[in-house]
C-alpha cells in the first residue's frame, strides 16, 4: 500500500510535467509550422501595403514598433510607481502595519481585474480627458495593467528578505534611504523577474489596447497618434478570409514569441551578471 501510493503519486507528477511540456511544444509547433513559411524578411521590415489583409505585399513593422513603444512606456510608468511603493511598504512601514495591509489587499484586487476592464476604464478615462485612441492612451492603460503584476512579484521577493541586512545597514548609521538603495541592489534579480512577467503579460494583451491605442498601418511618430500592436495585428490577420494572410498571423505570433524570448534571456543574463558581484 505504502509503495502503491508512492508509485501513483510519481505517475501523477510525471504526467503533469509531461502535459505542461506537451502543451508548450504543441503551441510552439503549431505557430512555427503554420507561420514559418510566411516569415519573411519583409514581414519584419515593412509596414502593411495596400490590400495587405487581402494577401498583398507588406509586413507588420507597424505592430512591432507599436508594441515595443507601448510596452516600453508602460514599463517606465509602472517601474516609477511600483518600485517606490514596494520599498515603502517593505522597508519604511513597520512590519505589521495596517497601511501596508491595505495596500497589499488593493494590489491583490487590481491584480485580479481582467484586462478588458482596464481597457474599458482606460477608454472612459481618455474620453474624460479628451484624448483619442493613441500611443499615449495605450501606454497608460497597459501601464495600469502591468503595475500590479510587477508590484506583487517584487513585493513577494522583498517580503522574503531576511531582517539581518536592514538591521546591519541601520546599525551602521544608514538613513532609511541609504538602506533602501543597498536593499534594492539585493532585489535586482527579483526586479528582473518582475519586469519580465509584467512585460510578457503586457506585450501580449489585446483587450487593453483595443480601444485605447487603436490601430494603424503606420509607425506612430508621436504620442498622440494611434499605434498598432502585435496582438491586434494577429487578430486582424486571422480574421482575413485569405489563407495566406492567416498564415502571416502565425508568423506574427512567432515574432511576438521571439520578442518575449529575447527579453526573457536578456533579463536572465543581466540579473546573473549583476549577481556575480553579490553572492
Amino acid at each position: 500500500m505504502k509503495y502503491l501510493e508512492e508509485k501513483i503519486f510519481k505517475i501523477v507528477m510525471i504526467g503533469a510535467a509531461a502535459i505542461i511540456l506537451g502543451v508548450l511544444i504543441y503551441i510552439l509547433g503549431t505557430i512555427f509550422y503554420k507561420g514559418f513559411p510566411s516569415l519573411t524578411w519583409e514581414m519584419i521590415t515593412s509596414i502593411p501595403g495596400g490590400g495587405f489583409y487581402l494577401g498583398s505585399e507588406g509586413g507588420v513593422l507597424n505592430a512591432i514598433t507599436g508594441s515595443v513603444f507601448i510596452i516600453t512606456g508602460a514599463l517606465i510608468i509602472s517601474l516609477l510607481i511600483s518600485v517606490p511603493l514596494v520599498m515603502y511598504i517593505n522597508f519604511y512601514l513597520p512590519h505589521k502595519s495596517i497601511l501596508s495591509g491595505i495596500i497589499r489587499f488593493s494590489l491583490d484586487i487590481l491584480f485580479g481585474v481582467p484586462s478588458i476592464v482596464y481597457g474599458a476604464f482606460g477608454f472612459a478615462l481618455m474620453v474624460y480627458m479628451g484624448i483619442r485612441a493613441s500611443l499615449l492612451g495605450g501606454i497608460i492603460t497597459v501601464g495600469m495593467l502591468i503595475m500590479p503584476i510587477m508590484m506583487r512579484s517584487l513585493d513577494e521577493i522583498a517580503r522574503l528578505q531576511p531582517r539581518d541586512l536592514p538591521d546591519a545597514l541601520l546599525s551602521l548609521g544608514s538613513t532609511k534611504y541609504e538602506m533602501t538603495k543597498v536593499l534594492l541592489r539585493q532585489l535586482m534579480p527579483g526586479l528582473m523577474t518582475a519586469i519580465l512577467l509584467a512585460v510578457g503579460r503586457g506585450i501580449g494583451d489585446a483587450a487593453t489596447v483595443l480601444f485605447t491605442a487603436g490601430y494603424t498601418d503606420n509607425i506612430p511618430t508621436s504620442l498622440n497618434q494611434p499605434a498598432a500592436t502585435l496582438p491586434l495585428s494577429i487578430f486582424f490577420q486571422l480574421g482575413s478570409p485569405v489563407e495566406e494572410v492567416q498564415n502571416r498571423a502565425y508568423a506574427s505570433a512567432i515574432i511576438l514569441t521571439v520578442i518575449i524570448l529575447i527579453l526573457s534571456f536578456s533579463a536572465r543574463y543581466f540579473s546573473s551578471k549583476f549577481q556575480k558581484n553579490k553572492s
Binding site: P94, P166, A168, S171, G173, V182, S279
Partner: protein, 273 residues
C-alpha cells in the same frame, strides 16, 4: 569631532587612529523599562558601564540580554510595538531625548551581530560603506581607512589580492571580522556584540576574542554572551540578567569567585541555563 578623526587618518599613514578622549566614555542606564506590546521585557534596569573595558552581559535565553543591547543603539525604533521607558545616558547625553539624532547615536555604537551579515557588495565596499555614507568622499582617504581597518582585524593579508571580489565568498569567520572592520570604519566609540562568536568555529572565535581584548584600549565594549567561559576569559565586568532584571553585576573575578546572590550561584553552577 568627526572631521578631526578623518584628518588624523589622512595625516598618519596607515596607522590606527588613537581614540580621542573627549568625554568620559560611559553608558549609564537609569530606570529602564522595555515593553513589547503589553509584555514587560526589561524591568527597572539601573546600570553603569565602565569605559575602556569589556562588560559581558550573561544570563539564560530570553532574559532580555539582546533587548537590552538593542536599547543602546536605538534599534527598537524600527519596531513600533516596542516601548522604551527610562533614561540611557551615553557620554552624559540621554539618547532617548527627543532632540537626539538616532543616526548619530548609531554611528557612535558599532554593532556586531550574531551572524555576520556582509553587505551585497565587494569586500572593499563593505568597509568603505560606512565612511562613504557618513560623508567621506576623497578616494584616498577611503582607501586608507579600508586598508587600515582590514589590517586591524587581521584580514588584510588574507584578502589582499581580492578586495574587489564579493564579500559573501569569505568564510564565516572572515565575514565576522569583516563586519567588525566595517563597524570600526564608522569610527564608533562603543562596540556592542550580540553573541558575536556563537556562529563561529573555535579558531575564529579565538581571533574575535583577541580582537576584543585589543580593542578595549580604545573602545568601551559591551558583549552579550551565553557562554560563561567566554565571559570569564575576556570580560572585565559581568552583568547577570534573569527574567528582565539585573540580578548582580561586578568585576569578573569577584563575580565568579564570590557571587553574592543565590540565583547567581545557581546559574554559575549550572542549575539552570
Amino acid at each position: 569631532m568627526e572631521s578631526m578623526t578623518v584628518n588624523r587618518v589622512r595625516e598618519t599613514d596607515r596607522t590606527f587612529p588613537l581614540k580621542k578622549v573627549v568625554y568620559n566614555n560611559t553608558i549609564r542606564v537609569e530606570n529602564l523599562d522595555v515593553f513589547i506590546d503589553d509584555q514587560q521585557i526589561l524591568k527597572d534596569i539601573n546600570l553603569s558601564i565602565p569605559e575602556k573595558s569589556i562588560t559581558c552581559i550573561i544570563g539564560p535565553s530570553g532574559c532580555g540580554k539582546t533587548t537590552f543591547l538593542k536599547t543602546l543603539n536605538r534599534m527598537h525604533d524600527e519596531t513600533p510595538e516596542v516601548r522604551v521607558k527610562g533614561k540611557v545616558y551615553v557620554d552624559d547625553l540621554n539618547i532617548y531625548d527627543k532632540n537626539v539624532n538616532v543616526i548619530d547615536t548609531r554611528k557612535k555604537m558599532g554593532l556586531l551581530a550574531q551572524r555576520p551579515c556582509p553587505l551585497p557588495m565587494s569586500i572593499f565596499d563593505n568597509v568603505a560603506y560606512g565612511p562613504r555614507i557618513h560623508g567621506i568622499k576623497r578616494r584616498k582617504a577611503i582607501n586608507q581607512t579600508v586598508i587600515q581597518y582590514l589590517q586591524y582585524v587581521g584580514l588584510w593579508d588574507e584578502v589582499r589580492g581580492r578586495v574587489r571580489s564579493s564579500a559573501s565568498r569569505l568564510s564565516i569567520g572572515q565575514q565576522q571580522r569583516l563586519c567588525l572592520a566595517r563597524g570600526l570604519a564608522i569610527e564608533p566609540e562603543y562596540i556592542l556584540g550580540d553573541e558575536a562568536t556563537s556562529a563561529l568555529d573555535p579558531l575564529s572565535t579565538k581571533k574575535i576574542e583577541e580582537l576584543f581584548v585589543k580593542l578595549k584600549e580604545k573602545y568601551t565594549i559591551i558583549l552579550v554572551t551565553h557562554t560563561l567561559r567566554q565571559a570569564r576569559r575576556i570580560a572585565d565586568y559581568i552583568v547577570f540578567m534573569y527574567m528582565g532584571k539585573v540580578i548582580e553585576s561586578g568585576p569578573t573575578e569577584e563575580f565568579f569567585n564570590s557571587p553574592k546572590k543565590q540565583l547567581t550561584r545557581e546559574y554559575l553552577s549550572g542549575s539552570f541555563s
